[in-house]
Symmetry: C2
Subunit: 155 residues, 2 copies
Amino acid sequence: MDKPEATQSDIFRAFLENYRWDGVPHLPYKEEGSAPFKSITRQVLFHDPELRCELRYFEVAPGGYSTLERHQHSHGVMILRGEADVMVGGEVKPVKTHDLVRIPPMTWHRFRTRGEEPMGFLCMVNVERDRPQLPTAEDLETLQADPKIADFLAL
Amino acid sequence: MDKPEATQSDIFRAFLENYRWDGVPHLPYKEEGSAPFKSITRQVLFHDPELRCELRYFEVAPGGYSTLERHQHSHGVMILRGEADVMVGGEVKPVKTHDLVRIPPMTWHRFRTRGEEPMGFLCMVNVERDRPQLPTAEDLETLQADPKIADFLAL
């Protein structure tokens, strides 16, 4: 039988308390000061040389938000816990556990918690991808021309 | 602003009752008779030309199981609901909601429900991948040489 050698912990990783996983490092979302964000952490659930995508889990504490950004690569997102308001392009929508969100290429997006509970989401992304772009002052002005986007960004 | 045109439903897909998603077809696991399996369905949550992987949701009714198979491609699995016994290579382990399972290349694997509740799992996989292989009589004999694997396969 030609199964590769692998330790048990390499194959099975248990879900622990507080949305941590056995053997999965609990990381900063990004380098502090590199972009605007608040109260968000990152865990890489799958980063396998055989898989062309990674699966990450991001968790946002109450009142927190991700960076407003865009990039050529795409995201496939599933909310895993809690509730959020999500901006994708010209839309802002409330989402809850197990809802899906697709972030198309070059589309401004941001996640923001709703309510008093942490909000966590899975994010599938290509391993090979471009760096996120931050909005210029002109980009922000264009986005804020829509009152509902202006409200979302001002919160 | 160079955001691509997209309908709202293309971006946001709500989680519905009974682990269905708005606009996501509820499909057979595989073609009936093509391989041994029992009481399992498939929903493709993300299949995006920009993403190199798909994210699928498989659900197994109580008493059901997936096909015993192996392939060159790898799987990244998260249990989304319920409990299962999972065989990966020479290991059989009980898993529960939010546990992670990595299926390495060319490793025999099978999922089987535990208890009276449906068991559902997310499975991330490369879009470009080889077809699964079924065990030969000789493969089965080799696997069954381990009593715990024999027990798992006999259930």
